[in-house]
């Protein structure tokens, strides 16, 4: 492949990349979510840091929006954690769960089933003892069905 062809190809590739929406970026918020975050946490989404040591397990495509299994766990020592919330950006009410954690919990682990009205980001947010907020985000697709 010559240099010119290579450059042309990369240009195409970059353009394609820029145009493709991909999955919803984790930082993209919704007004409803912001309202709930302000009300319950007192912060905006931009103030919450996405970190790898909070782990959110949920299906990529839900088998039923009425019953989506979600598990939150973290390697952050329980002594440093105060609170856990789960939010679904695009639900009519994004607030899903509110869990107070104490050292008696042993570790950060919470598993539940939630309802989702449509495809949306799901967020697990932890409030740490030092007053900071951290989270994990995963997009869960809710679909009417598909093809075999």
């Amino acid at each position: 492949m010559n240099r010119r062809k290579f450059l042309a190809l990369s240009a195409v590739a970059v353009m394609g990349l820029a145009m493709v929406p991909g999955v919803q970026p984790a930082h993209a918020s919704t007004p409803r979510l912001e309202e709930e975050l302000k009300k319950r946490l007192g912060v905006s989404l931009a103030q919450i840091k996405e970190v790898p040591d909070v782990k959110l397990t949920a299906p990529t495509i839900a088998e039923s929006g009425a019953n989506v299994p979600v598990t939150v766990e973290s390697t952050i020592p329980i002594e440093r954690v105060e609170h856990l919330w789960i939010f679904v950006d695009k639900n009519p009410v994004p607030w899903i769960a509110d869990v107070k954690l104490t050292p008696m919990n042993g570790q950060v682990f919470f598993s539940t089933r939630i309802k989702m009205g449509e495809t949306s980001n799901v967020r697990a947010i932890l409030k740490l003892k030092d007053g900071s907020y951290v989270m994990a985000t995963k997009e869960v697709k809710v679909t009417a069905g598909g093809c075999g």
């Binding site: 394609g16 990349l17 145009m19 493709v20 929406p21 991909g22 999955v23 397990t57 299906p59 990529t60 495509i61 088998e63 039923s64 299994p69 089933r113 495809t119 997009e139 697709k141 679909t143 009417a144 069905g145 598909g146 093809c147 075999g148």
Partner: protein
């Protein structure tokens, strides 16, 4: 590959002239059984595998798609290579056996030259020949699922004709998708009591506590190699098929659990080799292997892709052996001291006229077919246009089915006629060549659901649009983890423009229903079949197979308009590959 125009013309000329003389002789001369089987043995272990057999115990024609429309980031990658792109990518000569088997290019011409493909007795011959050559103790025989459903004989015998064949050939392991549609109880009975192969799946668990329904993996020794094999059934079975078949079970893509089993096999069982027998689909397996580490080889089914050379992701090799009995995969491996040192792969083309039938398998097929031969062989018409199923958005089979629905529901309640008929984007079916007689079995083979009910309902324009956008996102989402591995619903009575590279809600444009722009608040009369049943709608008296059979009988000579009802805005779209 660079093929000059002259070379290409040379091939076609050769093909044409031989056609005029004696096509069968030509095919036999250029493709002997020995040549098809040719393989220099290698290493100490052999994987023999098929996938997506779709219940085809008899030879058939099956045309690969003219188009595999890809979202931009996946364009040109395995899983999205059709026609000339496929031939170039794998360096295959147009007109060759491999080109006939793996691409749409000149399909009609080549089909007349090389004949039908697959067939239970033929596939049995190939598998048994490999096993005999290598020795049973060195071979692992695998089936990737979609095996005993979706054909005439599968529907008539609740899958048992194919189960009997699997047992006869001697498969070791399998996973599932459509196989569950014989009914949950029957499926469990087959897997537990009838099937000799072991059924393994790490991603089928009981709701709500997550207990495994089947063994997630097995450990087996072959050729002195300790092998750990994990099974993955189709992750979206509960969504793609009526929920009743998997009631109480949860599926899904579960990278963490998969990684846990890989680690368990390596650390606890000290295996030399880890295999994944998967019905995830090729694009999804490629994405998944970027997350899960430590799997040596994935045998990947579901999307019917053909990979003459493996797709490499890190240290993992992914192989997809096509569908409908067209290929038997043979992969010889050199595994020593707990490590895969090398491999040799061939997807052996099963040309039905060239591969001799296995006697026992032929008897078995004959026995199972006997009660149905008369019905299956009933001629109902002649195809004047090639009837094919595969393509991302449109096919002649689906247009014919749409026409049949529109004809049957013309003037349903004296006021309304059918506005829209949707046909699911299954990747299985059959092909009927121009001039070939259409039989009842062909209709079964393209509409072989165990749930052939048709549902008629009224739906607002906006709801239809939302539904089609939803399906489009399952097909065109740029992240394979969010795709379902099927094709787009075929929407009869509707014309639209499709933009692939945009977000859900923006892909389907300029929709016209019966020639008029869609009205969002207007109610349309819609016919659907082949998916999860719509809630609260009673099935119609006549099922889809009966409607289509009657329509073909009425028409006798079946001409189908080849012009697609979809205009693809941001991807090339081929419409003449088969006819070249």
């Amino acid at each position: 590959m660079s093929l000059s125009r002259r070379e290409f013309l040379g091939h076609s000329a050769l093909a044409l002239s031989s056609l005029a003389l004696a096509p069968e002789a030509f095919a036999r001369k250029h493709a002997s059984f020995e040549k098809l089987m040719e393989f220099k043995p290698y290493g100490n272990l052999t994987l023999v595998f098929i996938s997506d057999f779709h219940g085809h115990l008899k030879p058939m024609y099956f045309a690969e798609p003219m188009n595999l429309l890809a979202p931009e980031p996946l364009k040109g990658t395995p899983g999205y290579l059709a026609g000339m792109d496929f031939l170039k990518f794998y360096n295959i000569k147009p007109g060759s056996v491999e080109a006939y088997m793996g691409s749409c290019v000149s399909f009609i011409k080549l089909a007349r030259m090389y004949g039908m493909t697959g067939g239970g007795p033929q596939v049995a011959t190939v598998i048994k020949a490999i096993v005999n050559e290598r020795g049973r103790d060195k071979c692992l025989v695998l089936d990737g699922g979609d095996t005993w459903a979706t054909s005439g004989i599968a529907v008539k015998t609740d899958g048992m004709a194919v189960v009997d064949w699997l047992n006869y050939v001697g498969f070791d392991y399998m996973v599932a998708h459509w196989d569950v549609t014989v009914g949950k109880e029957k499926f469990l009975d087959i897997v537990k009591n009838k099937l000799k192969a072991k059924f393994i799946s790490y991603n089928i668990t009981e709701e709500p506590f997550g207990d495994l329904v089947f063994p997630p993996y097995d450990v087996v020794e072959r050729g002195g190699v300790k092998i750990g094999i994990i099974g993955s059934s189709f992750p979206f079975t509960p969504l793609a098929n009526p929920r009743v078949y998997t009631e109480g079970w949860s599926f899904g893509v579960r990278p963490d659990e998969l990684q846990k089993y890989v680690n368990e096999l390596r650390e606890k069982h000290k295996v030399d080799l880890v295999l994944l027998l998967s019905h995830d689909g090729l694009p999804l397996d490629i994405a998944l292997m970027k997350i899960v580490k430590g799997i040596d080889i994935v045998i990947s089914g579901h999307t019917h892709d053909i990979t003459p050379t493996p797709v490499k992701v890190g240290n993992t090799l992914i192989v997809s052996p096509g569908s409908h009995g067209k290929f038997v995969g043979r992969m010889d491996l050199d595994v020593r001291n707990g490590k895969l040192h090398g491999y040799r792969l061939k997807l052996i083309p099963v040309l039905s006229d060239v591969v001799p039938e296995d006697k026992g398998a032929r008897e078995l097929v004959k026995k199972w077919y006997a009660p149905y031969e008369k019905e299956f062989n009933t001629v109902i018409g002649t195809a004047q246009t090639m009837l094919y199923k595969r393509d991302t958005v449109f096919s002649t089979w689906d247009r014919l089915i749409g026409e049949a629905l529109a004809d049957y529901y013309h003037g349903v309640d004296a006021v309304m006629s059918l506005d829209v008929g949707t046909s699911p984007g299954f990747r299985w079916g059959t092909t009927v060549l121009p001039g070939q007689r259409i039989t009842v079995e062909h209709v079964y083979d393209v509409l072989g659901m165990t749930y052939p009910e048709v549902f008629i309902m009224k739906r607002k324009g906006r709801d239809l649009l939302a539904l089609w956008e939803d399906v489009a996102d399952n097909v065109f989402n740029p992240n394979p983890l969010y795709q379902q591995g099927g094709d787009m619903s075929r929407i009869y009575g509707v014309e639209y423009e499709l933009k692939i590279n945009t977000k859900q809600g923006d892909r389907i444009r300029n929709v016209r229903i019966k020639g008029k722009p869609i009205e969002l608040d207007k109610e349309y009369l819609v016919a659907v079949y082949g998916g999860p049943p719509p809630m609260g709608v009673q099935p119609e008296k006549k099922n889809i197979r009966e409607i289509v059979i009657d329509y073909i009988r009425k028409k006798k000579d079946v001409h189908v308009d080849r012009k697609p009802n979809v205009k693809v805005l941001d991807h090339p779209y081929n419409t003449d590959c088969y006819w070249r």
